[in-house]
Symmetry: C2
Subunit: 128 residues, 2 copies
């Protein structure tokens, strides 16, 4: 026996706004069966990864122990960083190194930390 | 431009032990390139979902705002619940209903909440 990950759930003050924000970040689709806006499921175009935003009464307090790590689907980490901050993400910690490696820790509009890593092309270009 | 989710990262007091525990829960493989045990990546057999356990100095304090929702790959929710508690998961909240719907909130060995939902077959069997 085993289990598989059906989806990842994110506690939210405003589930609908959060789901829309992450839809734009990840180019995800919205679940057409979603009956309301207190629980909002979005999923990748191949339907293999899903995020569910559910409303809770409490706002975020301390650093999350679980976070998402993103890579640019095309382009570079730094171009994607500009896009994400343009969407309203805030920079929590800049872990980029002078040699081009590293990542940036961001926070979404409700303060959930996530990281933007280098693209696979950037990682490959840096290998010796 | 867009980003995709490379992996989900879980802060851990003991990353290696946690990665081994979740490997058993999800039947994931361990990354053979993993150089040590302070950062442990595990991934699904089709390599499409990956979990990274990284060591942090602080233990879990409050309820996580992000959690994984699992379904049994075969068998039933209740059989899988028995397997998971047998592995050391603890029951946080039993949300099962008398009509067979619902789920159970569990915690992994470091206290991270996750849910076990009904299998897809169980959900389908309950549809009118």
């Amino acid at each position: 026996m085993t289990s598989y990950v059906s989806h990842t759930t994110v506690d939210s003050v405003d589930a609908y706004t959060m789901s829309r924000w992450w839809q734009t970040v990840l180019d995800y689709a919205e679940d057409p069966d979603d009956p309301g806006h207190e629980e909002c499921m979005i999923y990748s175009r191949d339907r293999r990864h899903r995020l569910l935003f559910i409303e809770v009464p409490d706002a975020k307090q301390i650093k999350n122990r679980i976070h998402l790590d993103l890579r640019p689907a095309e382009g570079t980490r730094d171009a994607e960083l500009s896009r994400l901050t343009g969407l309203g993400a805030t920079v929590v910690a800049d872990r980029r190194n002078p040699d081009g490696t590293g990542w940036v820790v961001l926070a979404d509009p409700e303060g959930n930390e996530f990281c933007i890593l280098r693209s696979e092309d950037e990682v490959a270009a840096h290998r010796p």
